[in-house]
């Protein structure tokens, strides 16, 4: 296990460097001079430009810029934006919103997705099962921004059940956006649970358990469900990382001041350091979520051995 973890960590290194370098190169390939963009229409003295270019290493070759950035990064320094604000400060301000949003989405996935999947599997071919299948297919087909707008219009504007935008009402304002963000994964979770449980309910050990005279509740809860949840848990783990990156659209529609919105604004404003910083943080979250899931996989399913 320890050796496996070490090897995986080693494998992650090139992936991390490759991904961050890719994003670094792309961000700095965005046309236009960031310093000039910073000044806007006002005139800016050549010496100020020179100082700023020097401070942000803009005159170094790309690889050197990247290397300097990485040296800072391993010391926890994500750099500064062109207004002199620490990128870590910006992230500290923005991340809590996105994390709250992701948590709400995640809870929806577990609460609704799992229950719907289990119900559908236990009452296979019933009316409820069909309902779950049809609903999840429909959800998967509706792009997030269409779903977001529709629900905002219906539940926010017309019925006024939920706040239309912003986070002024605490956790309550995260309910609708959280549902929208989690909807797609919710549908996957429901289907995955259903498929997996249906398969396991047909297995030999379930038949054995039933033959031993165990109650239905115990057979399903203890034997079938536990094993069926392994793929679901792994999916949820990977999804937690993906939710953060997928929050751009949802945050835009509901005007939540999270990192998705920040990254979008920063790309527009050519704030390279902010974009690179946030994407790097997201890639880290994603990579470690994947690693955690891989390790968890072996804990959940003892049949899997890490050599």
């Amino acid at each position: 296990m320890g050796r496996y973890t070490a090897r995986r960590l080693l494998q992650l290194m090139p992936v991390f460097i490759g991904t961050t370098f890719l994003i670094f190169a792309l961000v700095f390939a965005i046309p236009g001079d960031p310093i000039r963009a910073l000044a806007g229409d006002r005139p800016i003295s050549p010496s100020t430009v020179a100082t700023l270019r020097d401070e942000y290493n803009l005159d170094d070759p790309l690889v050197i810029q990247y290397a300097k950035y990485m040296v800072g990064l391993v010391q926890g320094d994500f750099g500064k934006d062109y207004n002199g604000r620490e990128v870590t400060d910006i992230m500290a301000q923005r991340f809590p919103v996105t994390i709250r949003l992701a948590v709400v989405a995640f809870l929806f996935e577990i609460a609704i997705g799992l229950v719907a999947g289990v119900v559908a599997a236990l009452r296979r071919r019933s009316y409820l099962d069909t309902l779950v299948l049809v609903t999840t297919t429909a959800i998967v087909s509706v792009p997030t921004f269409v779903l977001g707008f529709s629900l905002q219009l219906l539940l926010g504007v017309k019925l006024s059940w939920f706040p239309i935008a912003g986070i002024s009402q605490g956790w309550y304002s995260y309910l609708l956006p959280g549902f929208v963000l989690g909807a797609l994964s919710l549908a996957y979770v429901a289907r995955l649970t259903r498929t997996s449980l249906v398969e396991n309910l047909r297995s030999d050990y379930v038949r054995t358990a039933t033959a031993k005279g165990l109650s239905r509740r115990r057979v399903v809860g203890r034997h079938a469900l536990r094993n069926s949840l392994i793929p679901v848990v792994t999916y949820l783990g990977i999804d937690l990382g993906a939710l953060m990156g997928g929050a751009i659209v949802t945050e835009g529609i509901f005007n939540l001041p999270g990192i998705g919105q920040q990254v979008f604004l920063s790309v527009r404003a050519q704030e390279g350091p902010v974009v690179v910083g946030i994407v790097t943080a997201l890639v880290l979250v994603f990579i470690f979520a994947n690693l955690a899931v891989d390790l968890l996989y072996g804990v959940l399913d003892p049949r899997i051995r890490y050599e």
């Binding site: 090139p14 965005i30 998967v140 792009p143 921004f145 707008f149 219009l153 997928g246 994407v279």
Partner: protein, 322 residues
């Protein structure tokens, strides 16, 4: 040893993705009910069998019909409407749907039905082009990685990981911002560059599962070249899961294009695209909900049809379900 573990992981991720997108099809219960005796005596290649299944699958037929309608709409919108989508009259601004104009008018007073119909071209062409490009990349890289293994596999696997690690929408936003002018070509390029990873992993594990079969060993023993083994023996037997995913992927790409156009980093006006239309409508949705409803409906219907087709194809290609 590290390789076997990696295989397990890749398989898990990939089947999960395809699985979870679909899983739905048991509902049509009767689909697999062909009597066994009838099968004997006929040519029973995988694809012939699948085609026989599909022809009697009502959901597949319905989805295929919808797709056909949208493809025709993309090629010849004139068959559906004679109104010019750019013939606008400000006095009709935000007009509600009526007998005159089924879908109402947009902010500039352009006929919305005509706009929505003309929007199909962009979605369908980007969906198909991106999928084809990603499919070609995936078939080449996946076959090489799966067949040769070792160093080739390791390099391709790391490359896949790097692109896969990039958050999709975020990566697309950053790359697309690099282009000053964004048209069909640029959007297609970016989506293809970001979108080949899952298919490559699928192809790789699929190739691995057939590369040691007897017929491959036989071909190799007869001195067949690697290229011929790959194209004539391995490809036809390994491609099925990738084709299934590619069908579903068309729908995913169409949704992604609309999302990017909606965010303002995809296609630009005056292009007509469903994503752009919804983006345009976003501040007027409360007063003119039809501006969201119709492009949203067409968009979702297109995505849905491709997903259902892929699901049906997967079930038809899976002999275990027969």
């Amino acid at each position: 040893m590290s390789d076997t573990r990696k295989d397990a992981r890749t398989d898990r991720v990939d089947t999960r993705e395809v699985e979870s997108r679909g899983a739905a099809r048991d509902q049509s219960g009767t689909a697999g009910g062909e009597p066994v005796g009838e099968l004997s005596g006929r040519s029973a290649s995988l694809w012939a069998d699948a085609w026989r299944e599909l022809r009697r699958d009502r959901i597949f037929l319905a989805a295929a019909a919808v797709v056909t309608v949208f493809v025709v709409m993309a090629i010849a919108p004139i068959l559906f409407t004679r109104t010019d989508p750019r013939a606008c009259d400000l006095s009709r601004s935000l007009g509600r749907p009526s007998a005159d104009s089924w879908f109402g008018y947009d902010l500039l007073g352009c006929d919305y039905y005509s706009q929505v119909v003309h929007g199909a071209r962009v979605s369908v062409s980007i969906g198909v082009l991106v999928t084809l490009a990603a499919l070609v990349i995936a078939l080449v890289l996946g076959s090489l990685a799966g067949y040769y293994g070792g160093l080739v596999d390791a390099v391709i696997a790391r490359l896949t990981d790097v692109v896969f690690g990039l958050p999709f929408i975020l990566g697309a936003i950053v790359i697309l911002t690099v282009f000053e002018n964004r048209g069909l070509f640029q959007v297609t390029l970016v989506l293809a560059v970001l979108g080949w990873t899952t298919m490559t992993r699928l192809m790789r594990s699929s190739v691995i599962s057939v590369r040691d079969s007897d017929y491959v060993l036989a071909a190799r023993a007869l001195g067949t070249s690697d290229l011929r083994i790959l194209t004539r023996h391995i490809l036809p037997n390994a491609i099925a899961p990738v084709i299934v995913y590619a069908t579903i992927y068309v729908g995913i790409v169409i949704a992604a294009e609309a999302t990017l156009s909606f965010l303002g980093v995809g296609l630009q006006l005056p292009a007509i695209s469903w994503g752009l239309m919804i983006s345009d409508a976003q501040y007027r949705i409360a007063e003119a909900p039809h501006l969201l409803l119709f492009p949203g409906l067409f968009l979702s219907l297109t995505v849905l049809s491709f997903i259902l087709m892929g699901d049906a194809l997967r079930d038809a290609l899976d002999p275990k379900l027969r």
